[in-house]
Amino acid sequence: MAADRTASAPTALTQATGATRGTIGESTLRPDGTLKVTGEFAYSSDLWHEDMLWGFTLRSPYAHAAIRSIDTAGALALPGVYAVLTHDDLPAETHYGLEIHDQPVLAKDRVRYHGEPVAIVAADHPETARRAAARIAVEYEELPLVVDEATATAPGAPLLHPGRRDHHAAHVPHPNIVHRQPVLRGDVAAARARADVVVRRDYEVGMQDQAFLGPESGLAVPAEDGGVDLYIATQWLHVDRDQLAPVLGLPADKVRLTLSGVGGAFGAREDLSMQAHACLLALRTGKPVKIVYNRYESFFGHVHRHPARLTYEHGASRDGTLLYVQCRIVLDGGAYASSSPAVVGNAASLSIGPYVVENVDVEAIALYSNNPPCGAMRGFGAVQACFAYEAQMDAVAAELGLDPVEFRQRNAMSQGAAMPTGQLVDSPAPVAELLRRVKALPMPPERAWEAAGGPVDVRALPGGLSNTTHGESVVRGVGYAVGIKNVGFSEGFDDYSTARIRLEVIGGEPVALVHTAMAEVGQGGVTVHAQIARTELGVDRVTIHPADTRVGSAGSTSASRQTYMTGGAVKHTCEAAREEVLRRGRERFGASHPAWAEPARLRLADGKVVTDGGEVIGDLAGILGEEAIDLEREFRHRPTEPFDLRTGQGFGHVQYSFCAHRAVVEVDTELGLVKVVELAAAQDVGKAINPLSVVGQIQGGSTQGLGLAVMEEIVVSADGARVRNPSFTDYLIPTILDTPAMPVDVLELADDNAPYGLRGVGEAPTLSSTPAVVAAIRAATGLPLKRVPVRPEHLTGT
């Protein structure tokens, strides 16, 4: 077994085998795999520096309070404490934010959510820092709470951000509404009059947490030039930098960020967490400062998925045609804006799902409240809507007496269909086909707990090891769902990625260096970048440079966009490098072969220049010689435009992505416990650049959707808006015993607008898995189940 592995020289990594050197379309293995399985891979929390201090954050125990005074003397007096900073110590800008700069670096005279940072400490040991923080005396005066739409918009409601001047302030109906986006199409009233069946229901989605495993952390090192180097786990180095520099009072070039190992992200690292705090402490003390959140603090340290209340009305004719959809989606954005406006845009524009509906009346809003701030999480506004519209599709099908899959297929969109925004879907949209595929899969065997023939295997039953049933009251149910997600940044955002390619000869062999600022958060972007460079440049050896801010922005690792965007940038820059190779070759060797004059006929393969007839006419190493090619290029997707603020019409999205699920569950109907037996998915990925990673994304995304369906929710207390379960003891995510077999059927229908025809993969599976699981539970129990996560109380009427 060990014989097929190559032990390599110290300067190379252990994976210089064929399996890590594939081109696009191959299941190339991760280049960082060996580091990750040996414990050598350094995550941001693993960093260490000589003379390093530990930072700690004092947070508000109240969700809404005025700060009357802060006394740091007791903390400063503690031996081992190097600095204690409050709002008054901030050197420059005091607020930051992704879109709206409404979030204080440290609270000034008011805290707006439970856990808001109030003061920061640097000390020589984490325990010293904790003890010091405990000695900071803060005098609070509690204020009335805004916790939902009613309290946010009631007459005399406290304003979260009085005197708003952001670009949404003018069009929102109330200052406690961050953003409002209607989408209007056709004539709903007329359609309602024609409808044979009308289903109107309210739905609710709880607040989900990304629950990445590697808590927020980073190391800030003060530099001799007065700047700071920050080693950080993030999703977007440049947007971090652009928020940090003004807060630190430094020019952007003195705030240098390098990506550290990232222990998952899922949206939670799109906003700043400890970045500014660590840098401020480092600049104040002149020493490197490391901050690592523990799990408790992590729940307060990042935004969550917006909880939502949704009201949907669907009307259909007796023949099974959807006539109209009217809906209202209220997202709770919590205390600060984060990416709420963009989440609203997504929820509104994707609110009716992948269906053709002529008459649509949609309103989506996000609130400001004293609940925890919410922002990006995998699925980004489309998850909440999908839960509701798919429940509606089942309900309407039931009213019509139609099979739920058939009803969906009848109304499914396909290429050329118009979205409610008026945007035409100009690439494949195989919605009906994806449903057909999941439905066609064989069903998992019944009563698997009896399979062994001996005593029951409780591990295969609802309740698992807890031994709650030996088969009593266990009922199987099957449910289907399909969803639509946009890929890339929408609504006119200038979304681009940058890649730098250096092509040179090392040791007689051509080597490509790929340098981008793309945040590798686990998705495998580093793998596909190397695959793309190999494919485009015909070299075997590709080195991935650490991601940092010395190269242009790669945009965010979110919105399912990185393979499309930074992968596209790598491709684009490689093409430019190839042109340069051919130009140089033509210059030097043009006389030797007529094909040099026709670069369109030439490609690079195996370190050679090859004609379309397969003839080798040049050698990469020979062409390059001592002179490297070093290029940096930007790549943009086609432009989008903002949605009209009144009608929601507009070419708002770059690309759409579709996934369908079939869930098979077994429910202990008496105890209300659920075992998901199988969660099958079918997804169109355009082109699977790395099939192994594609399946990994689909299964991972499906599992997060499963978690939202049956267990995951941040619970906020009704009386104080305090988080009640900030721990892995009480915020539960699926274990391996909660996660079923997940067959995946990958469809590859090229999108001609995208590099290689690919389609963003990461988010779509998170959408439809939740409604599919809940549909299956409904099928098993006959209950309406209008809220996720479904709790045992909902299934047992307790």
């Binding site: 904790r130 698992g464 209300g672 416990l673 267990m711 274990t735 045992p792 307790t798």
Partner: protein
């Protein structure tokens, strides 16, 4: 904070006598969480993992003397026959890693109403052997829990062992959590048939300020079995008897609403578990194996 590392039992008792505020630590699965999360900063930590005798168990005719420091994994592997209810309960504790470290002594010391071992101890019948420099006493497990996370130990006392009645009939344990593994009990239930004394005992977890027995249910069922001659006949139980037993078990709960579950659900679930586990134990009794079949 000081770290005390007694090498033997006498040394441990002396340390506890000298530092009554010392927090004993065995598997660390509760104490370390409190320290890691800054909920607790004890003056002294008293490490009991070096006291070898605490990790031993011995069986006598009627009881098992379970050292306070025997980890759950060993209970599952070694005491399945003698203590089937406790072994089932041990199997629901946390994760494999936690079962490798966590101990019944630690579970008792934490005295959480949600402790997984407690209902099984209550149902089997057990006494806690508490010791100090002043001497040793045995506390019936029913009297051990005095409130939420409070117990009957004096400040200078340590738990040395638990004396648990060996099973003389089928036992079962069942626990509701909202995940299929690694979950704290929303509520739990244990039942043990004791054919030798012709009694039935129960234990309820996480549905009252302390783990409790459902005395009324036990008495009802004991009487029903006795009067109907069921112990001798092994006849199937009347569904109405099982239902009444379940109602009385649910009625013994004094649950609260919390983030893990509602009071109403807890009461309901205890009733369901009581009915089911009674069914499983009675079937096993009827089949005459005298011990429950192991299921997991």
């Amino acid at each position: 904070m000081d770290f005390l590392r007694p090498a033997g039992w006498e040394e441990a008792l002396a340390a506890k006598a000298e530092h009554p505020t010392a927090v004993p630590i065995a598997g660390g699965t509760d104490v370390m969480v409190e320290i890691n999360f800054d909920h607790r900063r004890p003056e002294y930590l008293l490490d009991l993992t070096r006291v070898a005798e605490l990790a031993e168990w011995e069986a006598t005719d009627r009881t098992v003397r379970l050292g306070a420091g025997v980890p759950y994994t060993r209970i599952i592997e070694e005491l399945r026959a003698e203590l089937p209810g406790l072994a089932l309960a041990a199997h629901t504790v946390g994760s494999p890693q936690i079962r490798n470290r966590g101990t019944v002594g630690g579970n008792l010391g934490a005295a959480s109403p949600a402790g997984d071992a407690h209902p099984a101890l209550l149902a089997a019948g057990a006494e806690v052997e508490a010791a100090s420099m002043r001497g040793t006493r045995r506390i019936p497990v029913e009297e051990f829990f005095t409130g939420v996370k409070r117990h009957a130990l004096e400040p200078d006392e340590l738990i040395r062992a638990v004396h648990i009645q060996k099973a003389d009939g089928p036992q079962q344990f069942s626990k509701v959590g909202t995940r299929n593994a690694m979950v704290i009990a929303v509520c739990a239930f244990a039942v043990a048939l004791h054919p030798r004394t012709r009694t039935v005992r129960t234990g309820i977890g996480s549905a009252a300020p302390t783990p409790v027995r459902a005395h009324e249910a036990e008495e009802f069922l004991g009487a029903a079995l006795e009067e109907g001659g069921f112990w001798d006949s092994g006849a199937p139980l009347d569904p109405s008897t099982a239902r009444r037993f379940a109602e009385l078990c649910a009625g013994a709960c004094r649950p609260i609403d919390d983030v893990r579950g509602s009071a109403a659900y807890r009461r309901h679930a205890v009733g369901v578990m009581a009915r089911r586990t009674l069914g499983w134990t009675w079937e096993a009794y009827r089949e005459g194996d005298g011990r429950t079949a192991q299921c997991a």
